[in-house]
């Protein structure tokens, strides 16, 4: 378990941080007006920060999504652990893929490969349970659940159509 320390900064906001296994302090300063700053401690001086990077709300959620996508896969994997033969995988829609710019329904993944798309991660934000009319774009990552065989086939479908 990661131990997140919450420290009030009177008149400014709060600092929430934890010490990573590599010994670096990583955290977020939340200002009273909602602005956020990502902080990373200095290597030679754990009390100080080597960077404090202001993040807009969109940027913060994008970063959270980027860091959270593998977590989503890991969670699903853990959940499906008991079910033999069910796998979770992150599949990419590449730029120039036949489905770049078409809807999820157009891929007919479900009928062709029996694979379910449980979420789409785009530019760091997670779109859970996408509907068939969800428009795919290059760079999207599809979080998919299916059999090993189905998933391999699905990857092919996404690449070649």
């Amino acid at each position: 378990m990661v131990n997140v320390e919450v420290t009030p900064l009177p008149g400014i906001g709060t600092r929430q941080d934890f010490v990573s296994r590599a010994g670096r302090r990583i955290g977020v300063i939340t200002y009273r007006d909602g602005r956020m700053e990502l902080i990373v401690s200095r290597e030679d001086d754990p009390d100080a920060c080597t960077a404090s990077i202001p993040l807009s709300v969109e940027e913060a959620s994008a970063l959270a999504g980027l860091l959270g996508a593998p977590q989503l896969v890991a969670d699903l994997r853990k959940e499906n652990d008991g079910l033999t033969g069910v796998h979770t995988k992150q599949l990419s829609v590449l730029h120039g893929s036949p489905f770049d710019g078409r809807t999820l329904g157009d891929t007919q993944l479900r009928s062709r490969t029996a694979v379910s798309v449980v979420a789409v991660v785009r530019a760091g934000s997670v779109h859970p349970s996408p509907r068939p009319d969800f428009m795919l774009g290059g760079g999207d990552a599809l979080i998919t659940v299916g059999t090993a065989e189905g998933l391999a086939k699905a990857a092919d479908v996404l690449d070649r159509g």
């Binding site: 900064l9 009177p10 400014i12 941080d17 007006d33 700053e37 001086d45 009390d47 920060c49």
Partner: protein
């Protein structure tokens, strides 16, 4: 007609000049307060180009500036933050008080200004400028540092101490007896406690009184409430500024945030005028005789603040570099030292040279403070590689920070 046009031209020139000075100050990395003071000195009585015709307006505007300074200070803290801050930092706060108030008091006594002058100068050298400190910490990207909460909670203690100190000073300056002084202390202590409890329990209702969806109505209500409370407080001899500070604490949550956003430009405007007025009322030729004392005080109280910060940070298990940063961060004095001196001088109960000494002192400290914070790290590294100085075992002896 003619008179008002001269006043307008002078005011316009003052504001425009302050704008240029402010830009220059932040560009070279110091607080604009010393430059505002210098501006005031240049145009005041006995200065280069004495101004006439704007005195009445600027002195009232200066008073509003003080009220807004303290109102915004109160708005920036929530009552809960103050209470937890006080609980965490009271010991460091007391060390800070003793170490930094004493030099001012001693110098005042040595200069023969009596107990009143000593009380005022103690306040001048004690209180750090939370405005400068917060700005510098933000600019240097140190808000995420481990020593920063230590610095901030010392500032919280100082600001609360001001809420008790200012009424005492006001009462004593007004010629109150010991009993009168004690009454003022009692009233202010009760008022501070009451406001903290009120704000903790019923902050919503206080906020609701001033809150409004229309920015215009909101601005008028907040400003009106602040001036009303300040005026009544002054009538009760509890110092107008403290009234505004307590009102600021009582207003909480999103109302406080909106109020800060709305009042910040007003505060900057009126506070700038306040510093100018203080400079205007200081005769430049009175400064050279106290310059030596000011420089001496500056050196001593720089050292005492560094010791305070170092000690407080060490107690929280911060490494050597962090301790030095905490100490240097606290060095800056500014707006509140001038507020205290302004009160003392206005009451005419202390030596007139107090204004000159405070001006010179703040001029030095408001410049030294940000520079000290900026250059403390290279200075420490230099000290580390110099022969004869024991190399620090930074990090090795670190104990886990508690609470």
């Amino acid at each position: 007609m003619h008179e008002s046009s001269i006043a307008l031209i002078e005011l316009g020139a003052i504001f425009f000049g302050l704008g240029i000075l402010g830009r220059l100050a932040w560009k070279i990395g110091i607080s604009p307060i010393p430059l505002y003071l210098l501006g005031g000195l240049a145009f005041g009585s006995g200065g280069l180009v004495p101004l006439t015709g704007v005195g009445e307006f600027t002195s009232l505007a200066g008073e509003i500036g003080v009220i807004l300074l303290l109102l915004l200070l109160g708005l920036e803290y929530s009552a809960a933050e103050l209470v937890t801050g006080l609980r965490r930092s009271w010991l460091a706060g007391l060390v800070d008080l003793v170490l930094n108030a004493t030099p001012g008091a001693i110098v005042a006594l040595l200069l023969g200004w009596g107990p009143l002058g000593a009380l005022a100068m103690a306040g001048v050298t004690y209180i750090s400028s939370s405005g400068i400190v917060a700005k510098v910490l933000g600019d240097l990207g140190r808000l995420g540092n481990r020593e920063t909460p230590v610095v901030l909670s010392i500032l919280v203690f100082e600001d609360l101490a001001m809420a008790v100190y200012l009424p005492i000073l006001t009462a004593v300056l007004a010629g109150a007896t010991l009993l009168g002084g004690l009454t003022a202390t009692g009233i202010s202590l009760v008022a501070v406690t009451l406001v903290l409890v009120l704000a903790l329990r019923f902050g919503r209702y206080v906020s609701a009184i001033v809150d409004s969806k229309s920015p215009e109505v909101f601005l008028l209500r907040v400003l009106g409430a602040a001036l009303l409370v300040a005026g009544v407080a002054q009538q009760l001899q509890v110092s107008a500024a403290v009234g505004a500070f307590l009102l600021g604490i009582a207003i909480s949550g999103s109302t406080a945030e909106n109020a800060v956003r709305m009042l910040e430009p007003l505060r900057d405007l009126f506070a700038a005028l306040f510093f100018v007025v203080f400079g205007l009322n200081t005769v430049p030729s009175t400064i050279p005789p106290v310059l030596g004392a000011a420089v001496l005080l500056a050196l001593v109280t720089t050292a005492t603040k560094v010791v305070t910060g170092w000690w407080a940070a060490k107690r929280q298990g911060i490494g050597r570099m962090g301790r030095a940063r905490a100490g240097a961060a606290l060095v800056a004095r500014g707006e509140f030292s001038i507020v205290i001196a302004g009160l003392a001088v206005a009451a005419a109960a202390v030596d007139a040279q107090l204004a000159a000494l405070t001006t010179a002192y703040v001029l030095v400290m408001a410049i030294i403070g940000p520079l000290a914070a900026r250059f403390v790290e290279p200075a420490m590294r230099l000290a580390d590689v110099m022969p004869g100085v024991r190399r620090g075992r930074r990090g090795a002896a670190r104990s886990e920070a508690s609470g």
